[in-house]
Symmetry: C2
Subunit: 167 residues, 2 copies
């Protein structure tokens, strides 16, 4: 197996499963007569980010993670999504982008330096494997699971199988 196999399939699994979760959330809104923007703006605590931003961050950590690991131009996507459909499109575009990477682009990337921002004026440099294991993955899964938690807390009938994409 290759470093590509350690990276891309993990991102694709959750990007795909979140799309299914958003479809269930949208159906929940229709069934319960909930305005979609209420759920899209829901948070687990007032100073936490809302559902829509959690999804955007999941997309960013996958797309930018692949770009940084392969030394590609890091994409910048405006966070303009205002509906479940637009967020699903964001996920779909991210999936398409992640799928453009070829295994060879990841060859040796685990041992290459990756420099990434850690604040407005700060950067950090790690080896690719450490960047993936200790930065990209935990951030990616953190926002994905928080999105799941927000919807679960609001009564949407989903579970871990939806998060894993196996339901």
């Amino acid at each position: 197996m290759s470093f590509y196999d350690a990276t891309v399939p993990a991102f694709l699994q959750i990007l795909g499963s979140l799309s299914g979760i958003l479809t269930k959330a949208e159906a929940h809104c229709k069934a319960k007569n909930i305005q979609p923007e209420v759920l899209l703006g829901a948070r687990l605590y007032p100073d936490m980010l809302p559902l829509s931003r959690q999804i955007q961050l999941v997309c960013d950590f996958a797309a930018k993670g692949c770009a940084r690991l392969t030394g590609s131009e890091v994409p910048s996507t405006p966070d303009t999504e205002k509906s479940f459909e637009e967020l699903r499109q964001r996920l779909a575009k991210t999936i398409d982008y992640v799928k453009t990477f070829k295994p060879a682009q990841f060859d040796g990337a685990d041992s290459r330096d990756v420099t990434f921002p850690t604040g407005p004026d700060k950067t950090m440099t790690l080896k690719g494997q450490q960047f993936l294991s200790n930065v990209a993955f935990p951030n990616f899964y953190f926002h994905a699971a928080t999105a799941h938690g927000i919807l679960r807390h609001n009564g949407v009938e989903i579970g871990k199988r939806d998060f894993l994409g196996v339901s």
Copy 2:
């Protein structure tokens, strides 16, 4: 880098950060005169698992994940923890266990078959890399981030930096 590097450091980062998060949660209970068992039993929704069980599952996915990937005997730990201190001990024991593995035990494990239970009478077999990427990691991070979300939702002053262990 090796398959060990793709596996063990990721588990250790979050097992350690959760211990710090539990310490902050315990201090929050003291400061706000909250009975610890209330927070340990908190859930994001009535049919979700409580905080204590989320921590136990994080430990299990790390410990059993390493065992399955290396063909070691899969440990079974009774879920008896009833306090923040006992949960921190569970995390510490899991960290000690994960640290017993040597890099050589993971050599070739990415391409070896891993068979694991998916229900009371069902198993699934995947290559080690797929087991790690699509089963062990997403389950591990799911329960860790859900534990964080439960505490955040209950007003404990933690954030993503605590989750990442960089605060």
